[in-house]
Protein backbone atom coordinates (compact mmCIF):
# COMPACT_ATOMS: atom_id res chain seq x y z
CA UNK A 1 0.00 0.00 0.00
CA UNK A 2 2.83 2.32 1.02
CA UNK A 3 4.59 1.60 -2.27
CA UNK A 4 1.49 2.60 -4.27
CA UNK A 5 1.20 5.76 -2.23
CA UNK A 6 4.82 6.71 -3.05
CA UNK A 7 4.25 6.05 -6.77
CA UNK A 8 1.07 8.14 -6.67
CA UNK A 9 2.80 11.07 -4.94
CA UNK A 10 5.74 10.96 -7.40
CA UNK A 11 3.38 10.90 -10.40
CA UNK A 12 1.33 13.75 -8.93
CA UNK A 13 4.43 15.84 -8.34
CA UNK A 14 5.74 15.15 -11.85
CA UNK A 15 2.35 16.01 -13.34
CA UNK A 16 2.16 19.27 -11.40
CA UNK A 17 5.69 20.23 -12.45
CA UNK A 18 4.90 19.47 -16.11
CA UNK A 19 1.67 21.44 -15.97
CA UNK A 20 3.39 24.42 -14.36
CA UNK A 21 6.41 24.51 -16.65
CA UNK A 22 5.02 22.54 -19.53
CA UNK A 23 6.19 22.42 -23.12
CA UNK A 24 3.33 24.39 -24.56
CA UNK A 25 4.24 27.93 -25.57
CA UNK A 26 2.43 30.73 -23.80
CA UNK A 27 0.06 32.52 -26.13
CA UNK A 28 1.48 35.95 -26.87
CA UNK A 29 -0.76 38.77 -25.69
CA UNK A 30 -2.20 41.13 -28.28
CA UNK A 31 -0.08 44.07 -27.12
CA UNK A 32 3.07 41.93 -27.20
CA UNK A 33 2.49 40.46 -30.64
CA UNK A 34 5.19 41.63 -33.04
CA UNK A 35 7.40 42.80 -30.21
CA UNK A 36 11.10 42.47 -30.95
CA UNK A 37 13.92 42.74 -28.45
CA UNK A 38 17.13 44.10 -29.95
CA UNK A 39 20.29 43.97 -27.90
CA UNK A 40 23.48 43.64 -29.89
CA UNK A 41 25.42 46.43 -28.21
CA UNK A 42 23.08 47.84 -25.54
CA UNK A 43 24.56 45.91 -22.62
CA UNK A 44 28.06 47.14 -23.47
CA UNK A 45 26.73 50.70 -23.20
CA UNK A 46 25.12 49.90 -19.86
CA UNK A 47 21.60 50.04 -21.30
CA UNK A 48 18.69 47.63 -21.42
CA UNK A 49 17.99 46.11 -24.86
CA UNK A 50 15.62 47.93 -27.19
CA UNK A 51 12.00 46.81 -27.04
CA UNK A 52 10.51 47.46 -30.45
CA UNK A 53 6.78 47.23 -31.07
CA UNK A 54 5.72 46.60 -34.66
CA UNK A 55 2.13 47.75 -34.18
CA UNK A 56 2.85 51.44 -33.75
CA UNK A 57 5.24 51.53 -36.68
CA UNK A 58 3.18 49.46 -39.10
CA UNK A 59 0.23 51.77 -38.58
CA UNK A 60 2.27 54.52 -40.25
CA UNK A 61 4.58 52.83 -42.73
CA UNK A 62 4.51 49.84 -45.05
CA UNK A 63 6.82 46.92 -44.25
CA UNK A 64 8.89 47.86 -47.30
CA UNK A 65 9.89 51.31 -46.00
CA UNK A 66 11.64 49.76 -42.99
CA UNK A 67 12.78 46.39 -44.30
CA UNK A 68 13.84 47.43 -47.80
CA UNK A 69 14.45 51.19 -47.84
CA UNK A 70 15.87 51.62 -44.35
CA UNK A 71 17.41 48.16 -44.35
CA UNK A 72 16.23 46.46 -41.16
CA UNK A 73 16.78 42.71 -41.30
CA UNK A 74 13.95 40.24 -40.92
CA UNK A 75 15.32 38.61 -37.79
CA UNK A 76 15.91 40.32 -34.47
CA UNK A 77 19.54 41.31 -34.00
CA UNK A 78 20.49 40.44 -37.58
CA UNK A 79 21.04 44.08 -38.55
CA UNK A 80 23.63 44.79 -35.84
CA UNK A 81 22.44 48.35 -35.35
CA UNK A 82 24.82 50.62 -33.49
CA UNK A 83 24.04 53.91 -31.78
CA UNK A 84 26.47 55.55 -34.22
CA UNK A 85 24.34 54.34 -37.16
CA UNK A 86 21.25 55.94 -35.64
CA UNK A 87 23.11 59.17 -34.94
CA UNK A 88 24.16 59.36 -38.58
CA UNK A 89 20.50 59.22 -39.56
CA UNK A 90 20.24 55.57 -40.53
CA UNK A 91 18.00 52.78 -39.16
CA UNK A 92 15.95 54.14 -36.22
CA UNK A 93 17.62 57.50 -36.81
CA UNK A 94 15.95 57.73 -40.23
CA UNK A 95 12.82 58.97 -38.43
CA UNK A 96 13.87 59.31 -34.79
CA UNK A 97 16.17 62.22 -35.45
CA UNK A 98 14.63 64.94 -33.34
CA UNK A 99 13.41 66.73 -36.49
CA UNK A 100 10.76 64.56 -38.09
CA UNK A 101 7.24 65.67 -37.20
CA UNK A 102 4.40 63.15 -36.78
CA UNK A 103 0.90 64.24 -35.79
CA UNK A 104 2.21 67.72 -35.07
CA UNK A 105 4.85 66.42 -32.65
CA UNK A 106 8.58 66.11 -33.15
CA UNK A 107 9.78 62.52 -32.93
CA UNK A 108 12.39 62.01 -30.25
CA UNK A 109 15.99 61.52 -31.39
CA UNK A 110 17.09 57.92 -31.10
CA UNK A 111 20.65 57.99 -29.80
CA UNK A 112 23.36 60.43 -28.82
CA UNK A 113 26.94 60.04 -27.65
CA UNK A 114 26.52 62.51 -24.79
CA UNK A 115 23.44 62.86 -22.68
CA UNK A 116 22.32 64.62 -19.54
CA UNK A 117 20.32 63.22 -16.65
CA UNK A 118 17.07 64.49 -18.16
CA UNK A 119 17.76 62.55 -21.35
CA UNK A 120 17.47 59.23 -19.54
CA UNK A 121 13.71 59.20 -20.06
CA UNK A 122 14.27 59.55 -23.79
CA UNK A 123 16.73 56.62 -23.78
CA UNK A 124 14.21 54.54 -21.87
CA UNK A 125 11.55 55.04 -24.52
CA UNK A 126 13.39 52.31 -26.43
CA UNK A 127 15.87 50.83 -23.96
CA UNK A 128 13.28 49.59 -21.48
CA UNK A 129 14.49 47.81 -18.39
CA UNK A 130 10.91 47.33 -17.18
CA UNK A 131 7.71 47.17 -19.25
CA UNK A 132 6.17 50.58 -19.82
CA UNK A 133 2.48 50.57 -18.79
CA UNK A 134 1.94 53.73 -20.87
CA UNK A 135 2.74 51.78 -24.02
CA UNK A 136 0.09 49.21 -23.17
CA UNK A 137 -2.43 52.01 -22.58
CA UNK A 138 -1.48 53.50 -25.96
CA UNK A 139 -2.02 50.11 -27.55
CA UNK A 140 -5.45 49.67 -25.95
CA UNK A 141 -6.52 53.13 -27.17
CA UNK A 142 -5.21 52.35 -30.67
CA UNK A 143 -6.91 48.97 -30.95
CA UNK A 144 -10.17 50.49 -29.83
CA UNK A 145 -10.48 52.32 -33.17
CA UNK A 146 -9.46 49.36 -35.32
CA UNK A 147 -11.46 46.59 -36.99
CA UNK A 148 -10.92 43.56 -34.78
CA UNK A 149 -9.41 40.19 -35.53
CA UNK A 150 -9.22 37.08 -33.37
CA UNK A 151 -5.48 36.53 -33.30
CA UNK A 152 -2.19 38.38 -33.34
CA UNK A 153 -2.56 42.01 -32.33
CA UNK A 154 -6.30 41.57 -32.50
CA UNK A 155 -6.33 44.05 -35.40
CA UNK A 156 -7.38 43.37 -38.98
CA UNK A 157 -4.71 45.55 -40.57
CA UNK A 158 -5.83 44.92 -44.11
CA UNK A 159 -9.35 46.07 -43.33
CA UNK A 160 -8.05 49.02 -41.32
CA UNK A 161 -6.22 50.24 -44.41
CA UNK A 162 -9.15 49.48 -46.70
CA UNK A 163 -11.40 51.62 -44.50
CA UNK A 164 -8.85 54.40 -44.40
CA UNK A 165 -8.39 54.21 -40.62
CA UNK A 166 -4.67 53.78 -41.15
CA UNK A 167 -2.74 55.09 -44.14
CA UNK A 168 0.67 53.41 -44.10
CA UNK A 169 3.07 55.45 -46.18
CA UNK A 170 5.25 53.67 -48.73
CA UNK A 171 7.71 56.54 -48.90
CA UNK A 172 10.14 58.09 -46.49
CA UNK A 173 11.59 61.37 -47.70
CA UNK A 174 15.34 61.22 -48.18
CA UNK A 175 15.40 57.45 -47.84
CA UNK A 176 12.93 55.92 -50.32
CA UNK A 177 13.34 56.27 -54.05
CA UNK A 178 10.47 57.53 -56.17
CA UNK A 179 9.33 54.16 -57.37
CA UNK A 180 7.16 53.82 -60.40
CA UNK A 181 3.96 51.81 -60.54
CA UNK A 182 4.60 48.23 -59.58
CA UNK A 183 4.05 45.33 -61.95
CA UNK A 184 2.26 42.64 -60.00
CA UNK A 185 2.06 38.90 -60.55
CA UNK A 186 -1.44 37.39 -60.69
CA UNK A 187 -3.02 35.63 -57.70
CA UNK A 188 -2.71 31.85 -57.68
CA UNK A 189 -3.86 28.89 -55.66
CA UNK A 190 -1.78 26.44 -53.67
CA UNK A 191 -3.19 23.00 -53.13
CA UNK A 192 -3.66 21.99 -49.50
CA UNK A 193 -2.11 18.66 -48.57
CA UNK A 194 -4.78 17.64 -46.09
CA UNK A 195 -8.09 16.34 -47.44
CA UNK A 196 -10.97 18.64 -46.63
CA UNK A 197 -8.71 21.61 -46.01
CA UNK A 198 -9.52 24.43 -48.45
CA UNK A 199 -6.75 25.40 -50.89
CA UNK A 200 -4.82 28.61 -50.37
CA UNK A 201 -5.47 31.57 -52.60
CA UNK A 202 -2.27 33.50 -52.56
CA UNK A 203 -2.68 37.14 -53.42
CA UNK A 204 0.42 38.82 -54.80
CA UNK A 205 -1.51 42.08 -54.83
CA UNK A 206 -2.19 42.00 -51.11
CA UNK A 207 1.42 41.22 -50.33
CA UNK A 208 3.17 43.58 -52.73
CA UNK A 209 1.18 46.61 -51.63
CA UNK A 210 3.07 46.58 -48.33
CA UNK A 211 6.18 44.64 -49.25
CA UNK A 212 7.29 45.12 -52.83
CA UNK A 213 9.01 42.25 -54.66
CA UNK A 214 12.54 42.22 -53.25
CA UNK A 215 11.20 41.78 -49.73
CA UNK A 216 10.19 38.16 -50.43
CA UNK A 217 12.11 37.16 -53.56
CA UNK A 218 14.43 35.42 -53.42
CA UNK A 219 15.32 35.67 -49.73
CA UNK A 220 12.12 34.04 -48.44
CA UNK A 221 10.69 32.37 -51.52
CA UNK A 222 13.49 30.99 -53.64
CA UNK A 223 11.67 28.75 -56.11
CA UNK A 224 11.55 30.04 -59.66
CA UNK A 225 9.10 27.51 -61.09
CA UNK A 226 5.53 27.41 -59.81
CA UNK A 227 4.97 24.21 -57.93
CA UNK A 228 8.67 23.39 -57.67
CA UNK A 229 8.92 24.24 -53.98
CA UNK A 230 6.76 22.16 -51.65
CA UNK A 231 5.78 24.11 -48.60
CA UNK A 232 5.01 22.14 -45.48
CA UNK A 233 3.21 23.49 -42.45
CA UNK A 234 6.04 22.14 -40.28
CA UNK A 235 8.53 24.39 -42.07
CA UNK A 236 6.14 27.30 -42.00
CA UNK A 237 5.54 26.89 -38.27
CA UNK A 238 9.31 26.73 -37.94
CA UNK A 239 9.49 30.30 -39.26
CA UNK A 240 10.27 29.61 -42.92
CA UNK A 241 8.38 30.83 -46.02
CA UNK A 242 5.06 32.40 -44.93
CA UNK A 243 6.17 31.80 -41.33
CA UNK A 244 8.81 34.52 -41.59
CA UNK A 245 6.06 37.11 -41.04
CA UNK A 246 2.93 35.11 -40.24
CA UNK A 247 3.53 34.00 -36.70
CA UNK A 248 5.61 36.93 -35.57
CA UNK A 249 4.15 40.13 -37.04
CA UNK A 250 1.44 39.42 -39.61
CA UNK A 251 -1.64 37.43 -38.54
CA UNK A 252 -0.54 34.12 -37.01
CA UNK A 253 -0.72 30.66 -38.54
CA UNK A 254 -3.42 29.60 -36.11
CA UNK A 255 -5.82 31.78 -38.15
CA UNK A 256 -6.15 29.02 -40.81
CA UNK A 257 -9.08 30.46 -42.73
CA UNK A 258 -7.27 33.68 -43.59
CA UNK A 259 -5.11 31.73 -46.06
CA UNK A 260 -7.07 28.55 -46.74
CA UNK A 261 -9.88 30.42 -48.39
CA UNK A 262 -10.79 28.47 -51.52
CA UNK A 263 -14.07 26.63 -51.12
CA UNK A 264 -13.75 22.84 -51.02
CA UNK A 265 -15.01 21.17 -54.21
Amino acid sequence: MKRWMVIFVVLLAAGTAFAAGGVKKRRVLANEYGRVVIGNYSAKAGLAPVTFDHWIHRSRFTCRVCHVDIGFGMKANSTQIKAADNMKGYYCGSCHNGRMVVDGRKLFASCSDTFAKEDVKRCEKCHQSTPDPKRDEQFAAFVDKMPRERFGNGVNWELAEERGIIKPSDHLEGVSLNRGKMVIQKDFSLEAKVAGMPDIIFSHKKHTVWNGCEFCHPEIFVGIRKGATKYSMIEIFDGRYCGVCHGSVAFPLSDCQRCHTKSVQ
Binding site: G71, T79, A84, R179, C213, E214, H217, I224
Partner: protein, 113 residues
Amino acid sequence: MISSNSGGLRRLLPVGVLLLLVAVMAPGVAVSADSAGWQEEFADLSLPAAQAMDLPVGQLQSLLTRCEELKVKIQLLDETERKVYGKRLQMTCDLYRFMLDSKLAAEEGKGQP
Protein backbone atom coordinates in the same frame (compact mmCIF):
# COMPACT_ATOMS: atom_id res chain seq x y z
CA MET B 1 67.24 93.52 -61.10
CA ILE B 2 66.42 92.35 -57.69
CA SER B 3 63.39 94.61 -57.54
CA SER B 4 62.01 93.47 -60.94
CA ASN B 5 62.41 89.83 -59.86
CA SER B 6 60.58 90.39 -56.62
CA GLY B 7 57.84 92.20 -58.60
CA GLY B 8 57.48 89.16 -60.84
CA LEU B 9 57.33 86.90 -57.86
CA ARG B 10 54.66 89.06 -56.31
CA ARG B 11 52.60 88.78 -59.49
CA LEU B 12 53.03 85.03 -59.50
CA LEU B 13 52.09 84.69 -55.85
CA PRO B 14 48.26 84.62 -56.33
CA VAL B 15 48.65 82.06 -59.11
CA GLY B 16 50.84 79.95 -56.84
CA VAL B 17 48.33 80.16 -53.99
CA LEU B 18 45.55 79.21 -56.39
CA LEU B 19 47.51 76.21 -57.66
CA LEU B 20 48.25 75.18 -54.09
CA LEU B 21 44.56 75.39 -53.17
CA VAL B 22 43.58 73.33 -56.20
CA ALA B 23 46.17 70.72 -55.29
CA VAL B 24 44.92 70.55 -51.69
CA MET B 25 41.21 70.48 -52.57
CA ALA B 26 41.31 68.25 -55.64
CA PRO B 27 41.17 64.90 -53.81
CA GLY B 28 38.15 66.11 -51.82
CA VAL B 29 36.37 67.24 -54.95
CA ALA B 30 37.16 63.93 -56.61
CA VAL B 31 35.80 61.97 -53.65
CA SER B 32 32.57 63.99 -53.51
CA ALA B 33 32.06 63.62 -57.26
CA ASP B 34 32.61 59.89 -56.90
CA SER B 35 30.21 59.80 -53.94
CA ALA B 36 27.51 61.56 -55.97
CA GLY B 37 28.22 59.08 -58.74
CA TRP B 38 27.52 55.99 -56.65
CA GLN B 39 24.29 57.43 -55.29
CA GLU B 40 22.99 58.20 -58.77
CA GLU B 41 23.97 54.75 -59.94
CA PHE B 42 22.31 53.22 -56.88
CA ALA B 43 19.06 55.03 -57.65
CA ASP B 44 19.27 54.13 -61.35
CA LEU B 45 19.81 50.49 -60.51
CA SER B 46 17.12 50.28 -57.83
CA LEU B 47 14.26 52.05 -59.64
CA PRO B 48 13.49 49.31 -62.20
CA ALA B 49 12.95 46.82 -59.33
CA ALA B 50 9.26 47.73 -59.19
CA GLN B 51 8.91 46.59 -62.81
CA ALA B 52 11.35 43.67 -62.51
CA MET B 53 8.70 41.22 -63.73
CA ASP B 54 8.42 42.98 -67.07
CA LEU B 55 12.11 43.54 -67.75
CA PRO B 56 13.57 41.67 -70.71
CA VAL B 57 16.43 39.19 -70.23
CA GLY B 58 18.98 41.54 -71.81
CA GLN B 59 18.14 44.39 -69.47
CA LEU B 60 18.24 42.14 -66.42
CA GLN B 61 21.70 40.91 -67.45
CA SER B 62 22.92 44.46 -67.95
CA LEU B 63 21.51 45.52 -64.54
CA LEU B 64 23.29 42.60 -62.90
CA THR B 65 26.61 43.59 -64.44
CA ARG B 66 26.14 47.13 -63.12
CA CYS B 67 25.22 45.69 -59.71
CA GLU B 68 28.59 43.97 -59.46
CA GLU B 69 30.39 47.18 -60.37
CA LEU B 70 28.48 49.21 -57.81
CA LYS B 71 29.07 46.65 -55.06
CA VAL B 72 32.80 47.36 -55.37
CA LYS B 73 32.22 51.11 -54.89
CA ILE B 74 29.91 50.55 -51.93
CA GLN B 75 32.56 48.45 -50.23
CA LEU B 76 34.70 51.58 -50.06
CA LEU B 77 32.12 53.58 -48.08
CA ASP B 78 32.13 54.00 -44.30
CA GLU B 79 30.82 51.19 -42.10
CA THR B 80 27.23 52.43 -41.74
CA GLU B 81 26.70 53.34 -45.39
CA ARG B 82 28.33 50.10 -46.47
CA LYS B 83 25.93 48.15 -44.23
CA VAL B 84 22.78 50.05 -45.30
CA TYR B 85 23.39 50.46 -49.03
CA GLY B 86 25.19 47.13 -49.33
CA LYS B 87 22.10 45.33 -48.06
CA ARG B 88 19.69 47.41 -50.16
CA LEU B 89 21.72 46.80 -53.28
CA GLN B 90 22.05 43.10 -52.52
CA MET B 91 18.26 42.75 -52.22
CA THR B 92 17.72 44.51 -55.55
CA CYS B 93 20.40 42.52 -57.33
CA ASP B 94 19.06 39.27 -55.89
CA LEU B 95 15.62 40.15 -57.26
CA TYR B 96 17.08 40.79 -60.73
CA ARG B 97 18.93 37.47 -60.56
CA PHE B 98 15.72 35.75 -59.45
CA MET B 99 13.74 37.28 -62.33
CA LEU B 100 16.46 36.43 -64.83
CA ASP B 101 16.57 32.81 -63.67
CA SER B 102 12.75 32.62 -63.77
CA LYS B 103 12.66 33.94 -67.32
CA LEU B 104 15.44 31.67 -68.51
CA ALA B 105 13.73 28.68 -66.87
CA ALA B 106 10.44 29.63 -68.52
CA GLU B 107 12.11 29.90 -71.92
CA GLU B 108 13.79 26.55 -71.36
CA GLY B 109 10.44 25.04 -70.41
CA LYS B 110 8.84 26.34 -73.61
CA GLY B 111 11.53 24.66 -75.69
CA GLN B 112 10.86 21.29 -74.09
CA PRO B 113 8.39 18.92 -75.79
